[in-house]
């Protein structure tokens, strides 16, 4: 099935968790937050949150701010 990861279409297995995709894309143990379909998913729920067709994942990272 396909999902949208940071605006890029990615094909993944049927049973794939948020943690799996973060591991696959090289984001594990980084200072990031994750939104799934515009909802924040806390880190402790990454392993138990399973992805579905057309899910949209965005990686949020620190930046300069005033």
């Amino acid at each position: 099935m396909n999902i949208l990861f940071n605006d890029h279409v990615i094909a993944i297995n049927e049973i794939f968790s948020l943690q799996d995709i973060l591991l696959q894309q090289g984001y594990l143990n980084q200072a990031i937050a994750v939104s799934l379909n515009r909802q924040f998913i806390a880190k402790q729920n990454h392993a138990t949150t399973y992805l579905q067709e057309n899910d949209q994942i965005e990686i949020i990272s620190p930046m300069q701010g005033g």
Binding site: A33, F40, M63
Partner: protein
């Protein structure tokens, strides 16, 4: 030393981290400002993976408390989501709550602000709402659980300084137990000094330092201005009067007996 949300701080200057010519200059400016609190933000990570890592590792070395903001949010729900993300990334309950309503002057939306503040306070955040200088809005934010308020001096990045000193004075008078921080619109050290003379607890600024020709020395200048303003407030300023009064006693000075025309 003073207390901000339970943390003892030596500086009353809070500094933003945006718009500096380089990360090196940002770090040097933070050091020159002698600040203890710096603001940070979040963004969607698209093309450049790990682009936030260099910034984050730089600011972590500065040993400052981090105050993440919710810049760019227009609805309470968006601000709450960003606050939750910031708490996870930066490991802090502090959140500078920004909910903007107008594109031209980036004026905060008072209704969405109170709505978001109420929910964030209930979720255990220490909310630093960026607000206008409207007394009733500030009272509503207090009612929602905010112990810190950050009224603007003037619109973000305008550098106009305090455009309504009366309103800021009223806030200080009517909310004597609230931690009040002037945020946004400060353009030069004299503006920060004026805010501190009014009895404000601290000043938060960014562009005035970052956009200076020499950001590091401007940061130093703001450090001195904030200290001077606080000292002046504590020392108690003389009352203004219309009639001149000689500072030098005139009795027994040469020609003291001459009549004034």
């Amino acid at each position: 030393m003073w207390n901000l949300a339970g943390i003892h701080l030596s500086s009353r200057l809070l500094l933003g981290t945006a718009q500096y010519p380089s990360l090196q200059i940002l770090g040097d400016a933070v050091t020159a400002a002698a600040t203890n609190v710096i603001t940070v933000s979040l963004r969607r990570q698209l093309a450049q993976k790990n682009s936030g890592d260099m910034f984050f590792s730089t600011i972590r070395k500065l040993n400052c408390h981090l105050l993440p903001n919710t810049a760019g949010c227009r609805r309470a729900e968006e601000a709450i989501t960003v606050a939750e993300m910031a708490r996870e990334i930066f490991s802090t309950n502090w959140i500078k709550l920004e909910v903007i309503a107008d594109e031209y002057n980036l004026q905060p939306d008072p209704f969405e602000l109170v709505k978001a503040a109420k929910q964030l306070n209930a979720r255990g955040f220490t909310v630093f709402p960026y607000c206008t200088d409207d007394l009733i809005l500030c009272q509503r934010l207090r009612d929602s659980g905010c112990e810190i308020l950050m009224p603007w001096a003037s619109p973000i990045g305008s550098g106009k300084g305090i455009i309504n000193p009366y309103a800021l004075e009223v806030l200080r008078t009517r909310l004597p137990d609230c931690t009040l921080i002037v945020d946004a619109g400060i353009g030069k050290p004299s503006h920060a000094l004026q805010a501190m003379e009014l009895g404000y607890d601290a000043v938060l600024l960014n562009t005035a330092v970052a956009a200076a020709r020499d950001p590091v020395n401007m940061a130093r200048a703001f450090n001195y201005a904030v200290q001077a303003g606080r000292l002046a407030y504590q020392a108690g300023m003389m009352a203004e009067r219309n009639m001149a009064q000689p500072s030098t006693p005139l009795i027994d000075t040469p020609f003291w007996q001459q009549e004034m025309r």
